[in-house]
Amino acid sequence: MINYTFFQLDNGLKVIHHLDESTQLCVLNTLYDVGSKYEHSEKTGFAHLFEHLMFGGSVNIPKFDEPLQFAGGESNAFTSNDITNYYLTLPAPNIETGFWLESDRMLSLDFSQQSLGVQKNVVIEEYKERYLNPPYGDVWLKLLPLAYQKHPYRWPTIGKDISHIQDATLEDVRAFFKNYYCPNNAILVIAGNISLEKATQLTQKWFGPIPAQVNQKPKYEQEPKQLEPRLAKVEANVPQDLLVKAYHTVPRKHPDYYVTDLISDMLGSGKSARLYNALVKENRLFSELDCYLTGDIDAGLLVIEGKLLPSVSIQTGEMEIEKVLLDFCQKSIPDAELQKVKNKTETNIRFNDIGVLNKAMKLAYCCLLGNINLVNEEVNQYNNISTNDISRVAHNLFSPNNCSTLQYLAKQHG
């Protein structure tokens, strides 16, 4: 059970406090409701580039990291399709340093051409390190535009192309900040060894005076229902063929999201999962085989991906995956198998709830989803699912017309 208190400042900032007296630390987690889905299709990668600039100094504080480190703290951030999330951890007695730093960069940034230039280079190196240099690194750059034709999820958070990052201007940066980085577009979680009184007082002191802004979110198209199977083939300098199949799921807030999550576990989580057991262990076709959800707020994807053994054709691999899926959809699901994935989910949730930073992030995210108490309710949401739910959802999910297939093939040498 994660206890919390919610309050909202006059400027619209949503605040959640969670007391954990077993730690000597305190965490500030600030979630901004902006991700790459709000980007213009010709200026992608911007939300993530902007995240880097948030560490380049703010209006009253030339350097973000140094005062934080001096107070014994550490911080980082991540950007996704949906959100940009900043977090910092400090020894609890020093938490005011965190309030000071985090509120100043919400107030205004130090917009510098030099910082923008350097961070563009850093992000371009990040692009290479993660997406271009490693084997199979560009799979998502190929898969997303196949699975999505309209929705902005069709480009990855890092950006569609390096040129988009190169072309970003200081004007873009200013406009983006003004629109999205305001108290009325943020959720602040204060978690750790700090009283509610202290947390409230510090929040009022440092965040209270920051004015609300007009925050306009661009309208974007939802992905239309996919009506026929899609296939793309690429060749690359890799040792093994990789097969990826992506199926559109329900949005994160849909009740069937939890059902879909359990389906992905039944198929792909652990050695007893159906796909792994059938196609890695029994019938040895793949050397690795996974199944997972992207977990986005709008309709996301269930992804099955596997690397084929050298002697196996990609067509055979695909046929055998489809056999497993057909069997899953047509035959009744044993109760014990459902109970198994429920138990695994409970283990995962309990382990994830260890540590004050994890709890803070989860509180912020559930608040964004519209129900903070999801942090405590999700175990029950999973436990209430029946085998009929599984079959019903699986039947629609695994329709061939709902599937995008990427054949990522090893280039033949000689």
Binding site: P93, E125, P209, R284, K307, K340, K344, T347, I354
Partner: protein
């Protein structure tokens, strides 16, 4: 708009409260060292079963890791599938990890399912059968993973580095190859199991919701284990002749760079002090290397330095993946930063910042049941007491700029450093 002076930092001070939760131990009736660390309301359990079955005890490359991976692949009573089904049914995870100095099997589970899953854990630790078919699957898939890894510059770099500084013919420096995997047989793994797992467990450690009830449940299963662990074998190091190796990977858009040397492990009296130096050079986001090479020059997404400790040696290195065209600039700048530490004392403000950051990191490292268990495990593995951490904090507080400069001169001379670069010219 507000009367706050936002230009002045709030007051802060670092008090590392050393009254953190310590682990406790006793010896079970059948003579197994048993360690526990109970954190109330943590609701989860992590149990480590530790054996002298690390790579240092192996006779062939890949033998220890293969044995570890095969532990859950079948016993005389349960097939691989049955084991997976049973453990998964109770939402438990059983993971094996083979290190250079030891090996461990770790169980993650909810307290309510401990009695149900322990039967299978005991089977794995006493009765492995190493089915031919499962071993063959392991070998095939390991070879596939290896061929993918061979396209990773950082992977190739790391292998070349350890072989260079430790020599190739010992557990610290040897690198597994495709032929090593191919040569593993049922006999290889079952011999290793008989010689290094069956004779006895080194110790058991439980952390999380380790109540009295849970501990006695666990202990009732431990009577099935033996308690005379095989001795840990000696590691004979060669190598450590500084060299520069450049490996070509024509498909690269970046180069992996590693510069470093063989150094000492935690048992050496200078280890703690060197941690301060390492932190200043490349140990955190505000380090000299990160500031210069990422934040000023934008040459890389990340660069860091690290000290790794094994029981009988250690290493120090700087690692980065860097823009191909500018990698020589990167190497020059790395060497410049090291030279600066040798030639000039670190400034008072910077030293203070590094000290505070290290103390803050220490606080983060004692947060939560599993971090606390890790701190306990480290002192057990090295034969230290909790005084190690008190001394660590005292060392950080006391170290001077002069001492750091001395260390840099003693341990970070350019002539002692090995450089490995993997990428495209």
């Amino acid at each position: 708009m507000d009367n706050l002076n936002r230009t002045i930092a709030p007051k802060s001070s670092i008090i590392a409260n050393m009254n953190f939760l310590h682990g406790s131990s006793y010896t079970t009736q059948n003579n197994i060292p048993f360690h526990y660390l109970h954190v109330a309301e943590s609701n989860v359990l992590k149990i480590d079963f530790v054996f002298n079955a690390g790579m240092r005890n192996q006779l062939f490359n890949g033998q220890a890791t293969a044995t570890g991976s095969m532990l859950t692949e079948g016993t005389s009573k349960y097939s691989s599938k049955e084991l997976a089904d049973k453990l998964d049914a109770f939402g438990a995870y059983l993971q094996s990890k083979t290190n250079v100095d030891d090996a461990q099997l770790t169980l993650y589970c909810l307290p309510k399912f401990l009695p149900q899953v322990m039967e299978y854990v005991i089977a794995v630790l006493t009765d492995c059968s190493f089915p031919e078919k499962e071993l063959d699957t392991y070998k095939t898939n390991a070879i596939q993973r290896f061929s993918v890894n061979q396209q990773r510059n950082s992977f190739l770099n790391r292998r070349a580095f350890y072989s260079s500084i430790f020599g190739k013919n010992n557990a610290y420096g040897s690198a597994v190859n495709q032929e090593d995997y191919a040569n593993i047989s049922r006999e290889t793994v079952s011999t290793f199991y008989q010689n290094n797992i069956l004779p006895g467990i080194k110790y058991v450690m439980i952390s999380g919701e380790a109540t009295g009830v849970v501990i006695s449940q666990l202990e009732s299963f431990l009577v099935n284990l033996s308690s005379s662990p095989s001795p840990s074998k000696e590691v004979v190091l060669t190598g450590n002749i500084p060299e520069k190796i450049i490996l070509e990977n024509p498909h690269s858009v970046q180069s992996a760079v590693r510069i470093g040397r063989k150094l000492f492990g935690r048992k050496h009296p200078d280890f703690k002090k060197m941690q301060v130096l390492n932190m200043a050079l490349g140990g955190f986001f505000g380090s000299r290397l990160m500031k210069n090479i990422r934040e000023e020059k934008g040459l890389t997404y990340g660069i860091y330095s690290a000290m790794e400790s094994y029981l009988d040696a250690g290493s120090f290195y700087i690692e980065t993946e860097i823009n191909n065209e500018l990698r020589d600039t990167g190497v020059t700048e790395i060497l410049k930063e090291i030279a600066d530490l040798r030639e000039n004392p670190i400034g008072a403000d910077e030293l203070n910042l590094v000290k505070n950051y290290l103390l803050g990191s220490f606080l983060r490292s004692i947060d939560g049941p599993f971090s606390l268990a890790d701190r306990y495990k480290m002192i057990l593995d090295y034969g230290f007491t909790y005084d190690y951490y008190t001394e660590f904090v005292e060392t950080i507080r006391a170290i001077s700029a002069f001492e750091i400069q001395l260390l840099a001169n003693q341990y970070l001379q350019e002539k002692d450093l090995t450089t490995i670069i993997v990428g495209r010219k």
